[in-house]
Symmetry: C2
Subunit: 309 residues, 2 copies
């Protein structure tokens, strides 16, 4: 059984955005800031703090501007914010504390694109030029492509690796026409339909791109951390995860969050892989999240640390 793990990995924390966006209650800005500060103190170097969406659609994130203008100063931390459309992108750019990279978002699922973004694959692709121009207006080159439902979709079931590879190649070609190129592809297992074999398969299939392939894994079917392990074995060095495994909705059977950042960190350290994160401090951050959300979170290892530790 051959094996080679990366020496170190990067973790992008998405808990404050994923967790609070799907939480049944509106969390106060000051509580969100407390969690973000705890995450930064634990050593997270990139934290997605909110999403610039319509306040009437997602009241949980209606404080996006107030939040990003009050972020705790941590020189080494890159704060980012999700955007779903150009209005959201511009709102994020207007916030001095937010240092977004220029991401394009795509999905191999037609049904998801229609339901979620009211668009077709063709329309989405046709908008790439427009996005490139917008990025350019803000002095940015395209960074990466975020592929939602890269392993499967709640509407269409499992998605074949070939379909994802073709999608990535199509975007790469369209970017070339705009004198841009991909510098990262992030595969999001939006509804937890990946397995260790499909992770290895798709990472290997995208290897010819010679750019980092990152993973954003949900733990809907229990395989989140197994898939991260398969990713490590396949050479993946960038992971997105949520403190405490928040995201989805902890109160809704069937909906589920990302892999827990602290469980991922625990696994990496156990395997001798560096993360730059202090596990005890991260467990403390998970306890902060638990106390905000008022219930035990899906993450496992933080529960072995006392709340005050």
């Amino acid at each position: 059984m051959s094996k080679s793990y990366p020496t170190k990995i990067e973790i992008r924390e998405v808990g404050p955005r994923e967790g609070f966006q799907s939480f049944h209650a509106v969390v106060s800005t000051s509580e969100k800031l407390k969690l973000i500060d705890a995450l930064a103190r634990a050593g997270l170097k990139e934290i997605e703090v909110t999403s610039f969406v319509r306040p009437d659609k997602v009241p949980q994130l209606a404080d996006a501007e107030a939040l990003v203008n009050a972020l705790p100063a941590h020189a080494e931390v890159r704060y980012t914010a999700l955007y779903l459309n150009q209005t959201g992108f511009k709102r994020a750019e207007a916030a001095p504390a937010i240092k977004n990279r220029a991401w394009l978002y795509a999905s191999p699922s037609k049904t998801f694109l229609k339901a979620n973004n009211n668009t077709t694959p063709e329309e989405a692709l046709a908008r790439v030029a427009e996005w490139c121009e917008l990025f350019n207006d803000h002095g940015k080159d395209v960074h990466g492509l975020m592929v939602s439902n890269a392993f499967g979709c709640a509407y269409e079931g499992p998605i074949a690796t070939d379909v994802v590879v073709k999608l990535v190649n199509t975007y790469q070609a369209e970017l070339a026409r705009n004198k841009q190129t991909l510098r990262e592809v992030c595969l999001a297992d939006t509804v937890g339909m990946g397995n260790p074999d499909s992770v290895e398969h798709i990472v290997t299939a995208l290897a010819p791109l010679k750019i980092p392939i990152s993973l954003h894994l949900h733990d809907t079917r229990g395989l989140g951390l197994v898939n991260a392990y398969a990713g490590l074995r396949s050479g993946v060095t960038i992971f997105e995860s949520s403190v405490g495994g928040i995201g989805g909705c902890p109160f809704t059977p069937g909906a589920s969050g990302n892999i827990a950042t602290e469980d991922l960190v625990y696994m990496c350290h156990a395997l001798g892989i560096q993360t730059g994160i202090d596990l005890a401090s991260l467990a403390k951050a998970a306890h902060v999240a638990q106390s905000i959300m008022g219930c035990a979170l899906p993450g496992r290892v933080y529960k072995t640390f006392s709340q005050s530790s």
Copy 2:
């Protein structure tokens, strides 16, 4: 990355014993029977239904005799019951429905042995002859050795592979003196301190025994299913797990149950490994367990099946 999974695995279900023994409330015998029946109908071929312990010490299992005398008839199912001492073994043998194999129990942790069994490693070893005689009185040869804390211990921290290998060899030698031999070694990660590397390491180290090495994995630190995956890659074909991931205490931070049977089954099926279990029926059993315990269980995949499915 070479890989070869087993074609099929055996799963021993320990949920009714693990889950109810550590549950804060006493569950009625009829509710326990309902869960056991649902598990048998899902295709589980071996179910540990209770433990013969002192009713005053573990009131949750005070109905052991009543339960084993009312077990639903499923010709293909082997019902077993845990015993911690010779009185418990005899009570189990007195029950016609219980078909226990002759297991010896050991632990590489001196502190655990003292705290849990009030014995020393030397005293425990000295009792092997007595156990062999008792097994013999009931027409049984020794089946296997169950090693608690095979990866680590709440008292002593991580346990080195060498220590476990030495323990197994010592028992093997003592059994040889009694004209017995081990036919299985079950490694229990009692407090979830294993990781994929230590699983691979210990399974490989025990390979010269040329007997099945089985795994009983707790998910205390989130690596339960990752460790099961590492086990599959190392050729392990027997796993113990709990429906819904029950065990430990779902209400006590830090205590945690086994890997969830249905998550293990889901993973195996996704990797093309046969289990003989119907996942939808097993998810139904997990919903029965959830309804008995009155809260969402740690298992993930059952929540993607509707309660009535």
